[in-house]
Assembly symmetry: C2
Homo-oligomer: 333 residues x 2
Amino acid sequence: MNKQIVLAKRPVGWPDESCFRLEQCPEPACGPQDVVVEAVWLSLDPYLRGRMNEGPSYAPGFALDRPMVSRVVGRVLESQNARFRKGDWVWGFLPWALRCLTPRGEGLTLIDPSLGKPSLAISALGMPGLTAWVGAIELGNPAPGDTVFISSAAGAVGQLAGQFAKRAGARVVGSVGSDDKVAYVLERCGFDAAFNYKTRSVDEALAELCPKGIDVYFDNVGGSTLEAALRHANIMARFPVCGMISAYNETEDRGIRGLQALLSKRIQMTGFIIYDHIHKLPAYQARVAPWFRDGEMHFHEDIVQGLEQAPTALIGMMKGEAIGKRLVQVAAE
Amino acid sequence: MNKQIVLAKRPVGWPDESCFRLEQCPEPACGPQDVVVEAVWLSLDPYLRGRMNEGPSYAPGFALDRPMVSRVVGRVLESQNARFRKGDWVWGFLPWALRCLTPRGEGLTLIDPSLGKPSLAISALGMPGLTAWVGAIELGNPAPGDTVFISSAAGAVGQLAGQFAKRAGARVVGSVGSDDKVAYVLERCGFDAAFNYKTRSVDEALAELCPKGIDVYFDNVGGSTLEAALRHANIMARFPVCGMISAYNETEDRGIRGLQALLSKRIQMTGFIIYDHIHKLPAYQARVAPWFRDGEMHFHEDIVQGLEQAPTALIGMMKGEAIGKRLVQVAAE
């Protein structure tokens, strides 16, 4: 029997399990030109929080009582479309369901198996990877010897942003939310320094770990970490702004203090959304796939088993419990 | 007898006249290689407020009981330096005094009289002009049909920023602090629309006057005007940040709310300080001097007479009473 996860109610502040509902749903019926996909991997991403609200974020909001949607990697179960064959690996923005219909195969992208395992299409070789590249390299533009500070450094994007900046010759410092994550980014991702912001003042940590100041701040969180980065920024620093997760679950906006540093230090802050850069994906994949294949870069997937666990896994990711990219495995690979 | 204006005490919040003292001082004695300058025009600029504080702003702080310093246009009274002759017009960062010594002529720049009247060297053809150009054109990068919103639009920089953006084909909207200034920017500077933020909600005014949203916000003030501009910004908007005068006299930083718009709208905010661009001044002057000479652009100087009036004139400018560029005339031209 097919199953799906729907948005049962809109959260105010932090979402909890009651915002979601697991329900049975019809099996997809494949018509002319259609493709039926069996979901294998669901991507859990911070931006999904915004889509659970009523108003539009940068993506349209989810409808109540309709399935949650995110990037999903799956296998073609049935195809009446010449672009896809049974057994092909594909990814697309698909509902959180065991099996789904994609009318005329629209929005599905074939995955090239030569680039690596299929889940990479929604992780290191997909949007999180390209996000890290655009922010850390294209907007951050680190020079050898620059100091790059990354928040949510053990997250899907942060772990890669740091490794890309290292390859550019920068000193890389990360803030993370647990001692395990400190160990992860130091030992597996090769960061030069990292600290647990839950047990240490960000200001003190930056003073110690970024003795030459910050040239690039890759912002995933906003809030008081952004304020501290403004205080420790060097002249002409670049602040690519990829996320402000600290604000997503706030019901009140407390404002960012110390923004005058933008002026006194000539800082450039650039908000970016990866959809604007999607045309760069093939070139990105061709450039970095060998680095993963050859073990020059590390990418951790934090895997939760079972469609029914997706809501709890999403809430947990927002609260910072995942290391690396969190995926839900819905079916055997 | 020579006279000067010194910083008598550091202001907390808004400065008042007691922060300054007019006092007699020695006549400059011209040694080998030295130049004595008679001040004619003193420039009053918003950034001077920051230099009255203890800590460094982007320029070093003024010392207590030492003269105020700003850009000054003057005449060479006496020169033992081969680069300058008696009667030459020069400008430099000079003390607020009737006459001053510049050891070895350092920091003095000759003014080319063919470019226009001497005071232009510290106004439309000097830093305020180049500031308007870099912010409105280089960082703002307005396309024909874009909407450019400018705060402090009747100020030294704002009045030019708007006219430059008009020449680039943009629709230009200004916020100002009086009805006289509304009339000024509409009738003399050719803005498409303007409003008095003291008598009208900025949000309402932007909704009416920028019906297609804001593509470029030239920020001179920060604070709630910046917050409103973030709300009305279009996707991919550019926010050159030239000043945050609303914060300069605040003793508490209330923070900027709604900065998440940077992300959802992919806004680029760039703080800039004109000293980083000073190498562009000759090319800027060559480009725009004909526009002023031929009457294609308008530039208003708000002139206050007498060195002793400089403190009151500076305080008044910070409170928004000047239209255009405020200068203090210290001697006959």
